[in-house]
């Protein structure tokens, strides 16, 4: 379960509202703006999840870029970062790929607690111990502007 976003957390007065249907049959009210936080040079954003996609570990850069406190992130579904501009097909592909035991790579627009967004190049892998998947790890790096521009054009066509 995720809480609806609260207006008091939103930075900027130009915002939109939408309700997203998330995995597991629940919905979340999203409030989002057009304010981009640029990806910081030299950093990697790292998180791990359990088999259900519930966040189990985040690094400092994750906390900083998401705008949440670490305590708010741990135990939350990873869709806490789900931005309405991301086509569901991208995440279906992500889950199909990692469930087949493979590495997934893609460009993702993520939602911040303050309603803003940031682009990343994400890599997700299944963590296998003794032949069994015990969770997933994702590492994000700074995306190239060329690739982000391609995604800005492509993603709206995938809905």
């Amino acid at each position: 379960m995720l809480h609806d976003m609260k207006l008091e957390d939103i930075v900027g007065d130009q915002y939109k509202e939408v309700t997203l249907d998330l995995y597991g049959g629940f919905t979340r009210k999203i409030i989002y703006t057009e304010i981009e936080t640029p990806y910081p040079d030299g950093k990697l954003i790292v998180s791990t999840t359990d088999k259900q996609g519930i966040i189990t570990h985040v690094n400092q850069s994750f906390v900083y870029m998401s705008g949440f406190e670490e305590e708010e992130l741990l135990g939350a579904p990873h869709s806490i970062l789900r931005h309405p501009d991301m086509p569901p097909a991208a995440f279906a592909d992500l889950w199909n790929t990692v469930n087949a035991g493979n590495k997934w790579q893609g460009f993702v627009k993520n939602l911040r607690k303050d309603g803003g967004y940031y682009w990343v190049k994400a890599t997700v892998i299944p963590n296998v111990r003794d032949g069994e998947v015990v969770g997933y790890t994702s590492v994000r790096r700074k995306p190239s502007l060329t690739k982000v521009d391609e995604c800005i054009k492509l993603y709206p066509t995938l809905f």
């Binding site: 990806y39 910081p40 040079d41 030299g42 950093k43 990697l44 790292v46 791990t48 570990h57 690094n59 400092q60 850069s61 590495k103 190049k121 890599t123 997700v124 892998i125 963590n127 790890t137 994702s138 590492v139 790096r141 700074k142 995306p143 190239s144 502007l145 060329t146 690739k147």
Partner: protein, 248 residues
């Protein structure tokens, strides 16, 4: 029984004697016969690990997965408050302000340390550069990476940040940093193998207490840091997951 200790081959010339001093100190403290084997390159060190000849290793993060998953090694300690970071630098006269503006086809000088190469290439990706469109010049040491740039044989260099910081100011004045990584969670670690595991706690405590002892302090100084810090199983698992994600 004699044990073998080895050190990730990316040690700097200054640290070489430090590791010998450390090994002597460790033998005295633990009452073990420990032979220090300094391999010249990662390839020969990996072969020794493969053949189960290594019992204690100051390991490159790149080798942590293999050591833990395949060879039953466990983490002990790492230099306190230190992590492996990289620097992407160009000549001070180069007008490029950001990785974004580097052109495909550039010549890139880099040391043979696998973690440095990997992290450096990641930092260059935001400029649409990857191994398919750069020309890699592999060097034996960070100083040689700098020289490649100064001689204009390479446009860009990837350095281990701590080694870059130790370059002479004369050399650094002729270079300019484009990116300094702040990854924080990738680091070398001292790791202990199956034959020594029964002494894990004892050795761990001896290492942690090293900085409280005058002689121990001197040994640490010769290695270039102040004290050891515990690496927990959790922390090691997180680093391995991260490295796996980047390497897979």
């Amino acid at each position: 029984m004699s044990y073998q200790f080895t050190v990730s081959p990316d040690f700097t010339p200054a640290q070489l004697s430090g590791w010998y001093i450390f090994n002597t100190w460790l033998q005295n403290q633990t009452d073990n016969a420990i032979h220090l084997e300094m391999y010249n390159d990662f390839h020969s060190q990996r072969k020794a690990i493969e053949e189960d000849r290594v019992d204690l290793i100051y390991a490159n993060p790149f080798d942590a997965t293999m050591l833990v998953r395949d060879k039953g090694f466990r983490p002990l300690v790492k230099p306190a408050a230190m992590s492996d970071e990289v620097i992407i630098a160009v000549s001070a006269t180069n007008l490029v302000e950001d990785v974004e503006y580097l052109e495909a086809g550039i010549k890139l000088a880099v040391t043979d340390a696998p973690d440095v190469q990997m992290m450096g290439m990641i930092m260059l990706e935001s400029g649409d550069l990857d191994s398919s469109n750069v020309e890699l010049i592999t060097c034996d040491a960070n100083i040689l990476v700098a020289k490649q740039i100064l001689r204009e044989e390479a446009e860009v260099g990837i350095f281990l940040a701590s080694a870059y910081d130790e370059l002479s100011s004369m050399i650094k004045d002729e270079l300019r940093i484009l990116v300094r990584s702040q990854i924080s969670v990738i680091h070398h670690s001292l790791m202990i193998g199956p034959n020594l595991l029964d002494q894990r706690e004892k050795i761990h405590d001896i290492l942690l207490n090293m900085s409280h002892d005058e002689k121990g302090q001197g040994v640490l100084e010769s290695l270039g840091f102040q004290q050891w810090e515990t690496v927990s199983e959790d922390e090691m698992e997180f680093m391995i997951d991260l490295m796996d994600t980047l390497m897979m």
